[in-house]
């Protein structure tokens, strides 16, 4: 059921995506040009030149897409847009959770729930692989390399490691 729902094709075509992204580049180039105006001339000249060239390049892409035969750009941009949104949403939530609770629990939740939401149900493989991977990461980062992990609500457990 979830898989079927996530298999919806994108309404955004390749041509529309090309033009939208090029327009975004022009907007970014304009912002760079304006922001560079706040710098002294010696520091402003180079980024302003880049901004102009970037704007011209993006404009060429738009012109090329507009004059290109219409049938060549009708394929959907995203094969599975809902999966893309779910994936990006999970990554965002994962990082926010790391910020709030540390690395361990959000990592377990993320690595198990994402495949589950995308329709994967082989728990006997999924859970050991995720826990094993985390154990390897802890061994390498915390024990061998003594590198820092984000502040964790399970810090008392981490401190018990050798």
């Amino acid at each position: 059921m979830e898989s079927d729902a996530m298999a919806v094709k994108s309404a955004l075509t390749r041509r529309q995506a090309e033009i939208t992204f090029a327009a975004a580049l022009i907007a970014a180039a304009s912002a760079i040009f304006i922001e560079a105006g706040k710098f002294p001339p010696d520091s402003a000249g180079y980024p302003r030149t880049l901004a102009v060239l970037l704007g011209i390049g993006a404009l060429l892409v738009i012109v090329r897409e507009v004059i290109r035969p219409r049938e060549s750009g009708v394929q959907p941009f995203f094969e599975h847009p809902i999966r893309f949104i779910v994936g990006f949403g999970f990554l965002l939530v994962y990082f926010v959770m790391i910020d709030l609770f540390g690395y361990l629990l959000p990592s377990v939740a993320f690595a198990i729930s994402l495949p589950f939401v995308l329709g994967y149900r082989e728990w006997r493989l999924l859970v050991p692989v995720v826990l094993g991977t985390l154990a390897v990461i802890l061994l390498i980062f915390r024990v061998i390399l003594e590198r820092p992990l984000p502040p964790d609500i399970l810090n008392f457990l981490l401190e018990a490691l050798p």
Binding site: L54, V86, F88, L91, L92, I98, L118
Partner: protein, 499 residues
């Protein structure tokens, strides 16, 4: 040079560094074998994980990853007709046909032996050619280095992508990102928006990981494949020895390796181009060209030797001039910078143990490939291919998140990673090449600072920066590189119009 190599050898043979090369080669084999993951991705994931470690340990892992990943792509190409990496596409043509005939184990053996020979010859060419080239670069002043930077940008942007405009836009995006942070000439902070983490510019580790590790993860999520490779495909039995037929294969190994080395040295080429050229050459000189594409082991040998030979050779312009010969070399260049190693004469003068050690590690990893690429090892490490790709996506993110965080102990870096990754995914879907972005970030500040220095030396005379013979040659090469694709496109359109 010999002294430097002898001096570096004990460091390379230190147990920890040997282990690093072995680990990198195994990891590369797995990464290369997993469809959707490339060597570039593997090295991008590796860079934050090895940040802060001894440079030779980190570079040893990268060397192993490069050679291991290069061969790893042949495993699914031969067993499943799926190229593990773009460079293993030509291997499919005969490799999969051999599998259909029940010769999978023999095809794998041909691939690994050919890959080892190509990689070894390539590493030898790196050791032989890089030091003389770096001596030549000692003749360069600020003006010449400015033009080298411009040439590097022009070559990569025009050759890495199919589309010249998109290649140039990607390079411009990189150049723009390179302006973030303090302007070293005036002390002014540019585009930092009063954010302290941006004061020194965008962290190269975050950028590399975002550009090369996040897009394949997003692709895996979008595809959501729930099955891995069948375990039956890994039940391999020995089917004769390639080495007993070395006389038949030797001309192909040598010719393909030379092709791979030449293509590898050319900035911006490499990868799939070298294996296809080697394959076509082998087919051209064969007594039975019609057997190519129908399960001829010589096709596999040519493709894999050309592929392996491309690796170390692509580092020759990267280590000496800062111009990478391939996308992977561009990322390795970033990896060197992360460890405070700037390519060029200073690198060879100030860190000879590291740089000559790295070149020896490329050679060592090529030999190790024979060990970890054998049938028994392929059966063991190939088990990773059985994992469903939908499971691999979050597993990769666990490594990426902890690695990127640990570089600066900063959550800001993780959020930046996500932003860059999102843009990188869109760029990839729209066929904008990512390597020129890295080059822009690396070469942009160099070009700007060297241009200013050259102008100061010449008293503001812009003509003077283009007047030395070396500058003129570099300008001519840059123009050639930019005009050649346009000329080719014009010729193609004329041919199409007359046909």
């Amino acid at each position: 040079m010999i002294d430097a190599l002898v001096s570096a050898l004990p460091h390379v043979l230190a147990p920890a560094n040997l282990f690093a090369v072995l680990l990198g080669t195994v990891a590369g084999l797995v990464v290369g074998a997993l469809p959707g993951l490339t060597v570039t991705t593997g090295i991008a994931i590796l860079i934050p994980l090895t940040f802060g470690l001894d440079p030779l340990f980190a570079l040893g892992m990268m060397a192993g990853m490069y050679n291991g990943g290069s061969y790893g792509g042949a495993i699914p190409a031969i067993l499943m007709r799926v190229p593990g990496t773009p460079a293993s596409v030509a291997t499919i043509l005969d490799g999969y046909e051999m599998t259909k005939r029940g010769q999978a184990a023999y095809a794998l053996q041909v691939a690994v032996v050919s890959g080892v020979i190509g990689s070894v010859l390539s590493a030898i060419s790196l050791i032989l050619f890089a030091p003389p080239l770096v001596k030549l670069s000692l003749l360069f002043g600020p003006a010449e280095f400015f033009w080298v930077a411009v040439l590097g940008l022009a070559t990569v942007s025009s050759l890495l992508g199919e589309d010249l405009i998109k290649g140039l836009i990607a390079a411009l995006i990189g150049l723009a990102i390179g302006t973030i942070g303090q302007d070293i000439s005036t002390g002014v902070e540019r585009f930092t928006f009063d954010l302290l983490p941006l004061a020194d510019g965008l962290d190269i580790v975050v950028l590399l990981t975002g550009l090369f590790a996040i897009p394949p993860v997003m692709q895996m999520i979008e595809e959501a494949l729930k099955v891995g490779m069948s375990g039956d495909l890994l039940k391999l039995r020995r089917q004769g020895s390639v080495l007993s037929k070395w006389r038949e294969f030797m001309p192909i190994w040598l010719r393909s390796s030379v092709i791979g080395i030449v293509i590898g040295i050319l900035p911006g080429a490499g990868g799939s181009m070298s294996c296809f050229l080697a394959y076509n050459d082998a087919k051209r000189i064969s007594k039975n060209p019609e057997s190519f594409g129908k399960g001829n082991p010589e096709g596999v040998a040519a493709s894999e030797a050309g592929n392996g030979a491309d690796n170390a050779a692509s580092l020759i312009p990267a280590l000496t001039l800062g111009i990478p010969g391939s996308g992977v070399a561009a990322v390795i260049l970033g990896g060197l910078l992360v460890h405070g190693l700037r390519p060029g004469p200073q690198l060879f003068r100030d860190h000879p143990d590291v740089i000559y050690g790295f070149m020896l590690q490329m050679l060592l990893s090529a030999f190790l490939l024979a060990l970890v690429g054998g049938l028994a090892a392929t059966r063991i490490f190939g088990q990773a291919l059985r994992l469903p790709r939908i499971m691999l996506a979050p597993i990769i993110m666990l490594f990426v998140a902890v690695g990127v965080y640990a570089v600066n102990n900063s959550m800001f870096d993780l959020y930046m990673l996500l932003g860059i990754g999102l843009v990188a995914y869109v760029l990839e879907k729209l066929d904008y090449p990512s390597a020129p972005i890295v080059l822009g970030v690396i070469l942009g500040p160099l070009a700007e600072s060297q241009l200013r220095l050259a102008l100061t030396i010449s008293g503001g005379n812009a003509v003077a920066i283009a007047s030395s013979p070396i500058s003129m040659i570099l300008i001519a090469l840059t123009l050639f590189v930019l005009v050649a694709p346009l000329w080719r496109a014009w010729q193609d359109s004329r041919k199409a119009a007359t046909a």
